[in-house]
């Protein structure tokens, strides 16, 4: 049996803040859980070309899985990007504390 292809999310860094953002289907969001999950690679690639780029620096696709219907990146680099650094509670983990 061939391994099922992973889902994809579309991510970038914000033009002025520099923080990690995700394509939620209609806008760029800084919440990883709101990332739109693409089931087909073709659709994901199409979206990569079509999404608005003005505030998104270097958008690319990253493999992800769905947990309770929410996106979670698969690769450890992407997991770190979705959380923040491990030496201080900065980045998204800091933002999360405020919500």
């Amino acid at each position: 049996m061939s391994k099922p292809k992973p889902l994809q999310i579309l991510t970038a860094n914000h033009l002025t803040r520099g923080d990690v953002i995700y394509w939620s289907g209609h806008k760029w969001s800084n919440d990883p859980a709101s990332a739109l999950l693409f089931c087909s690679e073709e659709r994901a690639k199409e979206a990569l070309n079509q999404v608005p780029h003005a505030i998104a620096v270097g958008p690319y696709l990253a493999p992800a899985e769905a947990i309770d219907g929410k996106a979670r990146p698969l690769h450890f680099r992407e997991i770190f990007r979705s959380l923040g650094p491990s030496n201080y509670r900065h980045g998204k983990q800091q933002e999360a504390r405020h919500v």
Partner: protein, 557 residues
């Protein structure tokens, strides 16, 4: 120290003004990222994993208290209250918004600092021995030379778009603390008879293909410095591989053409253009040198210092590891470790930076240095002031007595910040420091250096124990090299074998230390000496005990 002239101020001001406009054009959409990237890199701005990063040059590692205070202010106002000191005598701010960077740069300009040429394919921030102008073993202060090179290379039109980055380091001592052999050009101030000049090394560099610098010229008269270095860069510009960025550093040209061919070409260029430097460079050099006149040292009795050393074991421990002999009587260099066990190597909070500025002003002739080993140095402290200084450092968590010991590690930002990383470095450094804390004095001098990818910003090749973080099958994996060294007996470490998973690397380092303690001939034999005497075999066995078991079983059968 060097004082900015009106020309310098105007230049930096103009550059900031220009970059402010470039940022505005980027935000308005007039510039694409592809167009903007080379512009931001020339001004020290990277886009990292979680944010932009601003890399600010600390030329030859020298700061005064006003500059250190300004770095603290920037950290508080536009960053998250701290800064990261790097192996290239820069400070990195990890969290600026692009829109704030022009104001940060203007704030830096107020104290004669900038971020120009801290990135990109140009001559980078010129580094120097961090004990410059103070060490007892110094022949001459390397900073006037470094400053002359900085002025010559800043915005030099011929060298603004080199094939690759170009790093210069200068030392004024017989003891190499500037890692000269890991630089594109390393200059060591030497004396020949009554004349002062430079020993010139070329072709060193780390990265994916580490190479140690080779001797280009045993003695270059002081007056010939700029025409000679310019000749080296011209030869690099001609021979450097612009077709392949992985082979573009001058080390590859030296390797491919051979040092003799490079020397011949450099000398030919040099004899052609030497006369075109009509002496202005010497005038500038003399002016710079006057700026680096040593402070007026004081005379004071040492009884309080001696008494404190006798009576306070914590103070004594600090003085045992963190002091270096000074050329002036009664004085010492004080290394303030930014490696408190469990902290991020090289990070200083704004509060700590302000305290260091105050201490420099009060006890240190207003001078500070940043070392490539990611520590801060108070270069001119009279020993009679040490007890008071120590008490204040201790209060701020800055009195860690571990300089030169296992926890005094170099670690790059790795995958906690760096977009190029293949694994994390910081948590590895934190865990090793905690793990070895109780026995590092027994272990003695040991340099552990960690990089989060093959680019080797953490100098892992030069660590007695080097750790390189890689990715293997979708997981972090750490490779160990042993026997590397920086300094006079520089060597590239030898790779031991398969990498270790994130949760296996700390036990592996622990096994290495156990093995060393068991193997060393005497308590005085350092890890590196033991390794050089015994070779890699016993250390490999300690690292891979299961393999040994398997091999022994095979023999038995």
């Amino acid at each position: 120290m060097y004082n900015y002239t009106d020309f310098d101020r105007a230049f930096v001001g103009q550059r900031n003004h220009q970059f402010r406009a470039q940022i505005a054009r980027r935000i308005s959409g007039a510039l694409t990222e592809d167009e903007f990237k080379p512009l931001r890199l020339m001004n020290g701005v990277y886009l990292q994993l979680h944010a932009y990063m601003l890399r600010v040059a600390i030329p030859y590692g020298t700061l005064n208290s006003a500059q250190m205070r300004k770095l603290a202010e920037i950290a508080d106002r536009w960053d998250k209250g701290y800064g990261h000191f790097t192996t290239r005598q820069n400070i990195q701010f990890n969290w600026p918004a692009l829109t704030d960077i022009p104001d940060m740069l203007d704030a830096l300009a107020e104290v004669g600092m900038h971020a120009i040429q801290t990135s990109g394919n140009c001559v980078r921030n010129v580094t120097a021995d961090h004990f410059a102008g103070a060490a007892a073993d110094e022949i001459a202060d390397p900073r006037p030379t470094a400053e002359l090179l900085r002025q010559w290379s800043t915005d030099h039109p011929e060298f603004a778009f080199l094939g690759r980055k170009f790093k210069l380091a200068v030392s004024g001592s017989t003891v190499d603390r500037a890692v000269l052999q890991a630089h594109d050009v390393g200059l060591q101030i030497v004396r020949q008879g009554n004349e002062r000049g430079y020993r010139v090394l070329v072709g060193g560099g780390l990265g994916r293909t580490p190479m140690l610098g080779k001797l280009l010229r045993a003695f270059l008269p002081e007056a010939d410095l700029l025409p000679y270095v310019e000749s080296i860069l011209q030869v690099f510009n001609t021979l450097g591989r612009r077709d392949n960025k992985y082979k573009a550093r001058i080390k590859f040209a030296v390797h491919e053409h051979g040092i003799n061919a490079i020397r011949k070409q450099v000398e030919a260029r040099f004899s052609q253009q030497r006369h075109t430097f009509a002496g202005n460079d010497r005038q500038v050099y003399r002016r710079i040198k006057a700026d680096f006149a040593p402070p007026v040292f004081k005379d004071a009795p040492l009884d309080t210092y001696e008494a404190e050393r006798r009576n306070n074991p914590v103070f004594r421990a600090f003085t045992d590891t963190n002091l270096t002999p000074h050329h002036a009587a009664g004085y010492t260099l004080v290394t303030v470790s930014l490696k408190a066990h469990g902290q991020t190597p090289g990070d200083a909070s704004a509060v700590q930076m302000r305290l260091l500025a105050d201490l420099a002003q009060q006890y240190g002739h207003d001078e500070l240095r940043i070392s490539h080993e990611q520590n801060v140095i108070l270069p001119h402290v009279h020993k009679s002031d040490l007890p008071a200084l120590f008490a204040r450092l201790r209060h701020a968590g800055l009195a860690t007595a571990n300089v030169g010991l296992a926890s005094d590690m170099i670690a790059c930002p790795g995958m906690d910040y760096c977009a190029l990383a293949t694994a994390r470095s910081i948590p590895i450094a934190q865990q090793i420091a905690r793990r070895l804390q109780t026995r590092e004095r027994e272990v003695g001098p040991l340099k552990i250096k960690i990089s989060g990818c093959i680019n080797a910003c953490g100098h892992h090749h030069l660590g007695h124990i080097g750790i390189l973080g890689l990715e293997k099958s979708g997981k972090e994996s750490y490779q160990i090299t042993l026997g590397g060294d920086a300094g006079n007996s520089a060597a590239i470490g030898e790779r031991m074998g398969p990498g270790f998973a994130y949760d296996q690397i700390i036990p592996a380092v622990d096994r290495l230390i156990d093995a060393y303690l068991e193997l060393r001939a005497t308590a005085e034999e350092s890890f590196l000496q033991a390794y050089r005497r015994l070779g890699s075999a016993p250390f490999k066995r300690a690292l891979y005990p299961e393999t040994r078991l398997a091999a022994e079983l095979c023999h038995a059968l």
